[in-house]
Amino acid sequence: MKLHRLRVQSFAAVRDAEIAFGPGLNILYGPNDLGKSTLAEAIRLVLLLPHTSTGSDPYIPWSGANDPLVDLTFETEEQRFWRVRKQFGKSGSSLLQESRNGQDFDDVERARRVDARLREILRWGIPEPGAGSGKGIPESFLSAALLSTQAHVSDVLAASLADDPTTTGKDRIAAALQAVAQDPLFITLLRETQERRDEAYTDRGAKKTAKGSVFKLAADRVNEARDEKERLQKIVEDSEGVERRLRELIEERRHLDQEQAAAADRLAATEQLARQAADRAAAADRLRAAQDAVLRVQTMDQDVAAAEEKVKDLAAARSRAEGSVKDAQLAETAAGAALTAADETVRAAGLDSDMADTVARQALELRKIAADQAIGAATAAQELIDTASRADTEHRQREVEMKRAREQRAQAAEAEAAASEELHRCDLLQRAVEARAADKLAATARAQVDKETALRRDRSNIADEREATAERRAAIIVPPAGSLPALRKLATDLASARGALDVGLVMTVIPAALVKVRVRKDGEAPEDLGILAKPLDVEADTEVEVDIADLATVRVRAGRREAQERVQALEARWTADALPHLQAAGVDDLDALDAKLAEARDLDAHLKKLDGDLDSLDRQIAGLEGAAEALRETAARAEACHLALGETKLETLTADLDALGPDPGTTLRTRRHKATQAAETARTTANQAATAETLAEERARTLRTALDAAALARDAALGKLPSGAAREALQAAQEEQKKIQAELASLQSLIDARKKQLEAALSDAREASDKARSGVKTAQEALTQAIRNLASEEGRLAELRKVRAAADLAAAEAIFREATQHHDALPAPERLVLPDEVAAARDALAQAKRDLANVDRDMHITQGMLQQVGGAVARDHLRDALEALEQAESYEREIEADYEAWRLLLDQMKEADAAQASNLGQALAPAIADRFQALTQQRYQSVHLTAHLGTEGVLVAGKLRSPDALSVGTREQLSTLYRLCLGEYLQTTIVLDDQLVQSDDSRMEWFRNLLIEKARTFQIIVFTCRPNDYLDAAAMVTADGPGYVDSEEGFVRAIDLGRAVGRG
């Protein structure tokens, strides 16, 4: 540290003062009471006291005009200037500025932050303001040692670092002492260790992560390996996902294959069962028909046999009836004889009177017999007529039945035809439904193909656009976007660095002879100035190059070397880092490069979007893969379906198809089922009607025969009577019979009246006669009935025989046997199968085929995907990438551990070194003691300092004596030597305020030489009222010269404070 300039205003008794310090020994002299100690205090205050502190109160100007102001400029290291300006008091202020050239200062801190920063710069063991500091000027070992005032000359001997509030002072001294006390081997090892540590860490201990650093290289290697591994892992995951999907599809396909086979088996089994059932039903029908035929013939035989038996029975009954008639007639004859006998008896009893009665009764009896016979004949004829009439009626009924059966059969045939038509219609509609479905599938497939075509067209367009965009993008060569801020900063730094050189300069060329001069300014083209005869000023901004008569070229560049080197370094960086990008991009500046970057970014984004579009289209196209094949298949199927429709156009069936509703298959199945049932019913009805017709025909034929027989009998009967007189004859006969009976009753009453005694016998005879007549009548009626029955049965028998003769029992039995064998030969279905079940099995098979086709398509797509992703190839590459990542990570860990160890080693070496130097007293004491011995001509043997630089005393005659035991002069001299040693080790300014006033001339002379010697290595500022103690007369300030005089090659400066200080 060196002080450059001090300016003081309104500070205690000093109104104003301004001092420019020299780099070495500064002797500031003036008479007592001039304000020398005030200036020393001003330096202490401006460096240590916050402007708000009441510690400045003693320095309020005596005039009370303004607040005290101190302005100090100092330098802490090469090219690092500071300027602190403090105006003390309640309305005061603080300002800290920094400069690289000592001329142009920039504000760094203000107010309270100024003191914090100053203490950080000084590192004197004084904490930041507010951290336990008091109201006065903060003190520390170094503040006492370096800035001690006249009143505290020997304070340093009583102080030590142990009392410092912070360790910054101790650390600074330790570091300074270390630098001069290290072992050469240790220094070598320390340097190597430091170099190794610095390869990896910044000064502040952070890891270096810039390009080229070891950690960055290792991390880049890891990141690169990790990126590659993650990229490959993603490919492998994708691949495994696709493989998994493919395995699932293979499994699903196997399953569906089995399902399809099972569905096909089920359909075949169901159809076989249905066929078996149909065959069995047909055979059963045929068998039943054959059985019916046989049964019919057998029934005929039975009917014939029964009819023959019945004819026999009826013939026997007729014979019995004839016998009964004869018996009854014999009984009647006997009864008549008995009655005659009774009558004879009565007549015998009353011959005369009864003779007429008897004659009358006999006449009446004869008339009665005749009437009875007439009644019998008429009754028989009437019965024959009635029989013929009934036969005719029945015959008509059979004919009506036959007609009805025929009509029923015709109706059934019509119904069957209608049902067949419906079935045909159903078939047609089924084909139409299939055709329409096929058309729909074909349309869908066509739409898919059209879509695929459109997508491929879009893809081609986008691919073209992408290619064009990629070409445009490839033509733009730009650095990563993140590098632009760095380039801008580089440009700014370069401009700033160049600006630092742009300070302007004027070069004067003074020719000693006539010379030819050529000048080039600021890199412009050289200007030939011809022969130069007189001085020439050349003014430029940054650089002047003067070529003098081919003898020499003088180049003058503005700015300090560091600034120029900085520009060169930045230009080199610009050439290396920025220029290639600009040239590659074909632009001249960063703005244009930025625009190019934006354009590249836009193109990248556009490319990304196009890639995304292409991916999307590829996925869509992949999803449509197989559409053309599907279209061919569906179109072929639709064509086949249309061919199946024959000449019927699908359009003509639109209304019918629409009427089928949303589920035409089910509707058609229902309709087909109904039509099948209707056809079955119609066929059954027709069969029944045919059977009924046959029976009716047979019966009609039988009845016709009976009718014909009855008609013959009737006609035979009617032939004995006039036509239509039978009933009249019967009626007349019955009336005659009634009349006769009435006459007989009258006669009988006459007889009764006349022959009372004969009444009982005659009554018995009459009753017997009546009974016999009644028996004859009954027998005759029975005979008539038997004859009629016999005739009827004989007629029926003849008809049956005729029908039977027409039937062939053997043939019917042969057909029956063959039908039975055929029926038995057919396998019986395990169970009943309905048409719905067959249709459901057919649908299930179709569904299974569709599912299988879908899986095949998915498999095709997945296989395509798999072919792109890599499979085992990707796994191989991933294995390599994993190994590489492992290696890189291992290397990174190794590097990290290695450099951590280097850092630890460096820390421990430094700590060991610091520990070795921490006994500061041991390090510093010899230097002080050497000089103290020289000063005192070896009177004192050594100086003992504590580890914290506390002064224990001096060794005199083997005995350690406290500094207090020394004389004031010796103590002042020891104190000054101590402070000079510290200043020298720390290479910093020390301020001595009349330190050696108690020294004799010889010691003063010794000190004067020492100060002049040390002034070449660090700055010493001496305030004194006795300049002759330090300066020769020639080195003094003269009254007519400037306020200071430099001597000893500029290392000694004499400053007359009487001229520099204005007092208030």
Binding site: Q182, D183, L185, F186, T188, L189, E192, T193, R196, A225, E228, S239, E243, L246, R247, I250, Q863, L866, Q867, Q868, V869, G870, G871, A872, V873, A874, D876, D880, A881, E883, A884, E886, Q887, S890, E894, A897, D898, E900, A901, W902, L904, L905, Q908, M909, E911, A912, D913, A915, Q916
Partner: protein
């Protein structure tokens, strides 16, 4: 008798990202160099044809250096020229963009006696009595059994039939998509020999069947876990129905050696391994060493590895130090005459080792001691050398 040389899995252009750059170049070059060796073996054995069963390039679009290099080897190969058949594998499938594509310049540079199997129905009459059937991979993955897709033997055909495809005979799940090859495909298709490629170790996967189905392995190994790699198969076929004889011949330059050293003696013994310069050595250091031993260990590794000025004894060296441990503390390894500040440094590091709770701190301090030890040793060596 028909003689064939069967090779596969050249993997030209394969990268070895876990190796240092120079080693990667050595390994990559060796893959190219071995092809000339293979052709020499074919000539020496007087084979009738050379079958190359896939994965000849590591990628379907390898760098020009590789396909140009391969074409040059073929072109420069002196006569007599026997037919060579190159089959695309799953690493280098036949695609329109691939090196096998008829329009690729590689194809134009191949001599006429080198045939690329670029058709699914590829057949070639090697001799009047022997026919080759081959089929290329057309993608990086697929579940098609290329061997089973070769034509079956026609009734009455008594010629020798040789199949050549690329794929995996693994019957495990997960390998179905790596062009699976049925183990009895040779028998099923009526072949007399089925030449396949994919596995990098030499292996006859059908030793119990009458038709050999053989992986010849990679002619140069690609990793440490490929036993019996570095070979080609030389096949002698006598007549149809008779099992051919299959011999393997070594062709590799590099031998891959995985070495575990559990003591300094193991490490010292490694130095006397024969032909170490033709070995790719992966050295697993699994031991605990003192500072002095570590110094020797590093010297041996430098000896094996080589320096900028000297060749290493090992051809290529990878060192795995993850199980190398330093004996903690200095253990009085440092000389006594060191300056106090260095002795103090050693003592401080020893103290850290002794007092550290965390094992990592002990390791770090021990490593710092190791650094210091080596620095001191080097200084001593330098001063000793100077004197």
């Amino acid at each position: 008798m028909l003689k064939l040389l069967h090779t596969a899995d050249w993997h030209l252009g394969k990268r070895f990202p876990s190796f240092p750059e120079e080693a990667q170049k050595k390994l990559s070059r060796a893959r190219m160099n071995v092809i000339a060796t293979i052709l020499d073996v074919a000539r020496r054995n007087m084979v009738h044809a050379v079958l190359c069963a896939g994965d000849l390039f590591d990628d379907p679009t390898p760098g020009a250096d590789f396909w140009e290099g391969l074409a040059k080897i073929f072109r420069d190969h002196p006569p007599p020229h026997i037919p060579v058949f190159l089959v695309p594998g799953n690493h280098d499938p036949l695609t329109p963009e691939s090196v096998w594509s008829p329009g690729h310049p590689f194809r134009a540079r191949l001599p006429a006696w080198v045939h690329v199997v670029d058709r699914d129905d590829f057949t070639f009459e090697i001799t009047p009595d022997a026919v080759l059937y081959a089929r290329p991979c057309r993608s990086k993955a697929g579940e098609c059994d290329l061997a089973m897709s070769l034509p079956a033997r026609a009734p009455g055909d008594i010629k020798l039939r040789i199949g050549c495809v690329h794929g995996s005979t693994f019957d495990l799940k997960g390998y179905q998509t790596n062009f699976p090859i049925s183990r009895d495909a040779g028998v099923e298709r009526g072949l007399d020999y089925l030449a396949i490629g994919d596995m990098h170790s030499f292996r006859d996967v059908t030793a119990s069947l009458p038709v050999p189905t053989v992986y010849p392995g990679a002619p140069e190994p690609t990793s440490f876990d490929e036993p019996d790699a570095g070979r080609v198969a030389v096949v002698a076929l006598f007549r149809h129905g008779s099992r051919p004889r299959v011999d393997s011949e070594p062709v590799a330059f590099w031998r891959w050696l995985d070495v575990r050293c559990r003591s300094m003696n193991d490490l010292r013994a490694l130095l006397i391994t024969k032909d170490l310069e033709r070995h790719v050595v992966r050295l697993h250091l699994e031991m605990t060493v003192t500072l002095a031993e570590e110094s020797e260990l590093e010297r041996i590794i430098r000896d094996l590895e080589g320096t900028d000025a000297t060749h290493g004894r090992a051809g290529i060296l990878l060192v795995d130090r993850t199980r190398l441990r330093l004996q903690v503390g200095s253990a009085d390894a440092f000389p006594d005459d060191l300056p106090p500040v260095i002795r103090d440094t050693v003592a401080r590091l020893d103290r850290i080792v002794a007092e550290a709770v965390d094992e990592a701190d002990k390791v770090k301090a021990t490593r710092a001691l190791s650094h210091l030890y080596k620095l001191v040793q080097r200084q001593n060596d330098a001063s000793g050398g100077a004197s």
